[in-house]
Symmetry: C3
Subunit: 155 residues, 3 copies
């Protein structure tokens, strides 16, 4: 049965958990919808800088927030990125699939990834700044998906 996950967090550890659950469910034959909102949008940003018009505050937010899955920090003991780097090294040693590959795998498995348009407006993030293969929608779409699902998580 369908699963939905709201990815509100932009922390590497929480986002990893979201994608591990999502990919696991898809592998077991479930439909999965991931809804990225607020800090979770950072996961979907392209790593390169994209020229778009923003207000001053939106530009500031954009500049302060990590650009893409490879630059996320961890939610505890990050120490300016050191913790995230340590965690990535240990994950590699333990053959845990890295986040960028989990995202690619999610796409290949047909997991629906929706970027929250209201959050995009607030954060000043434009479609051109996000990776390909996304859908764009708001809370009504999320609720319609959740109504069809039997597991709905907020991460």
């Amino acid at each position: 049965m369908k699963k939905t996950i709201i990815v509100f967090s932009g922390d590497l550890d929480r986002v990893m958990a979201a994608f591990i659950i999502a990919n696991g469910a898809a592998a077991m034959g479930d439909e999965v919808t991931m809804f990225f909102t607020f800090w979770g949008l950072n996961v979907l940003r392209k790593p390169e800088k994209v020229k778009v018009k923003k207000s001053f505050l939106q530009a500031l937010f954009g500049w302060m927030m990590p650009r893409g899955a490879d630059r996320l920090g961890i939610s505890k003991m990050n120490f300016g990125g050191l913790g995230a780097r340590m965690m990535k090294i240990v994950m590699k040693q333990q053959n845990v699939t890295p986040l960028t590959e989990l995202i690619a795998s999610a796409r290949e498995q047909g997991i629906k990834m929706i970027a929250c348009t209201m959050s995009m407006d607030v954060m000043g993030i434009r479609k051109e700044e996000l990776i390909d293969g996304l859908e764009f929608a708001g809370v009504a779409t999320y609720l319609a998906e959740a109504d069809e699902a039997n597991v709905n998580l907020f991460i």
Copy 2:
């Protein structure tokens, strides 16, 4: 169908998400119950100081925690409230309904807002310190509501 949301967090960004989902669901005809616990209780505090008897530690907690929806910080990059102020400015520019109005709208739409009595005891928060229109209950009530719902989130 019914939705329940546990509002554990007292961070402006997470609480906004909770109310946007709750109001969205109510607008689509769903019954919604929000259960405020721990830091989430701060959302419900009246902005003005209310004289009530507290133990020393409870008074200290009360003094350190934000009084009401208008004073919440954001979960990341808050910088002593600067981040929250910036986010409110951007939200206003983007015509996002502010939190205080989302709360009023939740009440008008008949969303059930329950304050967790055990958390109130721990935090030393009295009914007189909270906004009107709340119900007061514990985990058994939450579980009974969740049993009737098809979407249950912990935020």
Copy 3:
């Protein structure tokens, strides 16, 4: 009906919430499965140091993370453990069951506690370091449990 809770957080306040909900549901006759992952594994660590082989980074993680339920910090205003101590004092004054007793009660009530094996690998945590009465499994087991449940929370 069955409930599942993913305990991702290792913060005292969030973990307390998880166990209060879990014990409440079990008391009402529900089957409950708790799935401990990432920081949530710290909840299950034995308080004493256990000699096991670890890589340098795993040893470092193990050393930096709290050993067991009694040493967890709170998610806000922890101030190097002071906040957690204050919260425990207030909880005692208010006759709230302490976390260690909530865990014991969960075990007595037959709540299934699963430690996430992938997280154990990453964090370098061995079975010998964890308290008794646990099961060990991965995301597929979690998903199978969640499919049978009507309330699934991520904490």
